[in-house]
Symmetry: C2
Subunit: 375 residues, 2 copies
Amino acid sequence: MAYRIGVIGGGQLARMMVPPAIHLGLDIRVLAETEGSSARLAATQVGDYHEVETVLAFARDVDAVTFDHEHVPQDVLRTLVDAGVAVHPSPEALAVAQDKIVMRRRLSELGLPVPDWAAVRDAEALGRFLAEHGGSAVVKTARGGYDGKGVRVVREADGADDWFADLADGEALLVEELVDFRRELAQSVARRPSGQIVAWPLVESVQSDGVCAEVIAPAPKSAGRLAEAAEAIARTVAERLGVTGVLAVELFETDDDRLLINELAMRPHNTGHWTIDGSTTSQFEQHLRAVLDLPLGDTRPHDAWSVMVNVLGGPEAGTLAERLPALMADHPSVKVHDYGKDPRPGRKVGHVTATGDDLDEATYRARAGAAFFEG
Amino acid sequence: MAYRIGVIGGGQLARMMVPPAIHLGLDIRVLAETEGSSARLAATQVGDYHEVETVLAFARDVDAVTFDHEHVPQDVLRTLVDAGVAVHPSPEALAVAQDKIVMRRRLSELGLPVPDWAAVRDAEALGRFLAEHGGSAVVKTARGGYDGKGVRVVREADGADDWFADLADGEALLVEELVDFRRELAQSVARRPSGQIVAWPLVESVQSDGVCAEVIAPAPKSAGRLAEAAEAIARTVAERLGVTGVLAVELFETDDDRLLINELAMRPHNTGHWTIDGSTTSQFEQHLRAVLDLPLGDTRPHDAWSVMVNVLGGPEAGTLAERLPALMADHPSVKVHDYGKDPRPGRKVGHVTATGDDLDEATYRARAGAAFFEG
C-alpha cells in the first residue's frame, strides 16, 4: 500500500508538496481551511485546525501528519501524538518555532549565535534594552508574525506601548539588537526522525518591506568557511531541537563577519523554492521523504546559479493566467509557479525561477519573468 | 480565470500532466475509465470515452481537450469539434496515429522515409510481399496494438492466418520489411496550433520484448547530421499532419545509415519521460502549453546525460512503496516515478531517471534503481 501523508493547511506549501507526492506514488491528503484553497486538488477535508476532533478525524488514516504552517495549537498536536499519530515536526520542535521568545531562549541555551535579545513586558524594560544597545532595537510579537508583520524598529521606550497593552498575562514581547548586517542568508536542511540530515547550498535572500523578494542559490561568495558555518548551525538546530522534515534557518551575515540566527521555519520555506527547478531533490520532495522517515535525496544543483523571484498580487485587476502568454513568449526558460490564489495586492501568489551558468543573466531572466507576472 | 484543460483517459500520461498543471496554475480535469485510475487525483469524472454524451459533458467547461491515449473514436472526436470544443491533437491528426496503414500511406505520400510496406488482406498477398523481401517481414494489426502487442515477425505466407480470419470487411493488415537496424531512436517535438515547434534532443530507445525498456538522452554519437535529420523528419510530420501537442517519432537507424520512421505517438511518450527530471521543460508541461496554444518552453537538458529505465510489475507480491526505502537509501540521486498502479507482471508501473556527466555511471544508477523497484 502507498504511504499516506496528511498535510494540515491548504496553502501554497501544501500545494507544492503535491507534485512530488504524485511522482513518488504517495497518497497525499490535505486538511484545508477553506474550499478553493491553494492545495485544493489534494484537499480531502475542509475544517478548522484548531478543533481537536476535526484534526483527529483527518489524521486517523495516514502514516504521518505534517504541516503547511506552524500555527496548529499545542493541545491539538499533543492530542494527535497521544492518539499514536506520527506528527512531524513534533509538538516539542514546533513549540520553538511557534514562539519567538522560546526560540531565542532555546538557541541561546544551545550556545548558537543569535542577536542580543530580551523578553520585555513594559516600556521600562524596553527602555533599558534600548539604552544598552545604542538607542534602537527591533521589537517582535512572540507569536503570529510573518512576512514582516509583528516586527517593528523602535527608538523610544514608548515605541511598543500599543503592543504591550495587548499582552495577556504571562506574555511578553521579544526585543532584539538592531543587527548591522551585510546581507540575509538562509540555510535549509532536512532531517529524518531516524537522524539522517542533508543540506542544500546556503542561499542569499533579498528582502523588500520585510518580505522575501528574491533568492540567489548559492549565496554569492559563500563557498568555504561561510557555507560550512551556516550548515553547521542548521545541523545543530535540527539535531538539538529534534526537527523532522525541512528546517530553514534565516541568518544575518553581519558587517563584522559573524552569522546570527534570525528566524527558524520548520517546513518548506520561501528561500527553498528554487530547489523545485534548481536541485536534484526539491525541498517539497525532501520534506515528504523526511516526515515519512524515507532516505533523503541528493541536493545537487542543476546549474551554477538559480534565482527565484516572488510574485506578489498587484493593484491591477486580472489573474496570473492572463499574463502567462507574454511571460512564456519572452522567457521560455523561466519556470512559472502560480499558487492558484486570488491576486490581492501584496499577497504572495506565485514565484518564478531561472537557472544558468551566469548569475547576472539568470537574475535578469527571473526578474523580467516576475515583472510580466505581476499586475 | 485559470486555463482549464480536460484530459481523456486516466493512465500514467494523464497522471504525469498533473504536476506541471499545478505549477502553471492550470485547472486540469481527467475523464478516467475507472475509479482508482493512475490519474485519480485529477479525475473529475469516471466514464466511457466511447460514449459521445459522456465525453461532450466532460468537455463542456474546458478550454481544450487532450488525451492520455489515442483510442477515442473518430465519431466522438468529430462531435466534440462540431460542438466547438478545441480538440488537440485534432481528429484528422489522430486518425493517422490510430491506424498504422493510414499512417504508412500518409508518411509515404509526404515522401518521408518509411520501411517498405503493403496493406494485405490474405495469405497470398502476404506471400508475395515475403517473396519480394527476402522471405521475412513484420505483420502488424492496423489498430489497437501497443507495447509489442499486435506485432509479429512472419516467414511463411500462412503466418498471419489467424489475424486474417479476424479481419472485418475492408480491413487489412500492415506488412513491412524486416529492417536491419543498428538501434532504435526517438525524436520528440511539440507543436502549438499557431505553428511554433520546439524539439528535444534525439534519444536512443532500448527495447526488450517489444517494450521500451531504457532511454538514453541524447542518443550517443548522434550530434550533427543524425540529430538534424531526425529533427527535420519530426518537424515535417508535425507540420504536414497538423499535429498539436507532443509528437514522438520512433525511428530505426539502419545498418546502412538511413533513418526510417517506425511509429508515431501524438501525446507524451515513454521515450520522453526523461524530460521530467532531465530537461528545463518536461514533455508533460510542454504538452499542456502546446494544446492550450501557450508559448513553448526551453528544452535544454540539465545534464550531459539522462537515462530512464522503465519499471515493470514483477512476479513477486508487494507494492512499489515497499521497495522505496531500499531504492532511496542506495540511490539518493535517482528520481522515482510510481504510477500508482497495481503491479501486475509485465505492466509498466513506473520509471526511474538518473542524470549526470558520465553515461556509464548514470546508466548504472538508473538500472540499479529500477532493479530495486521491480518485484
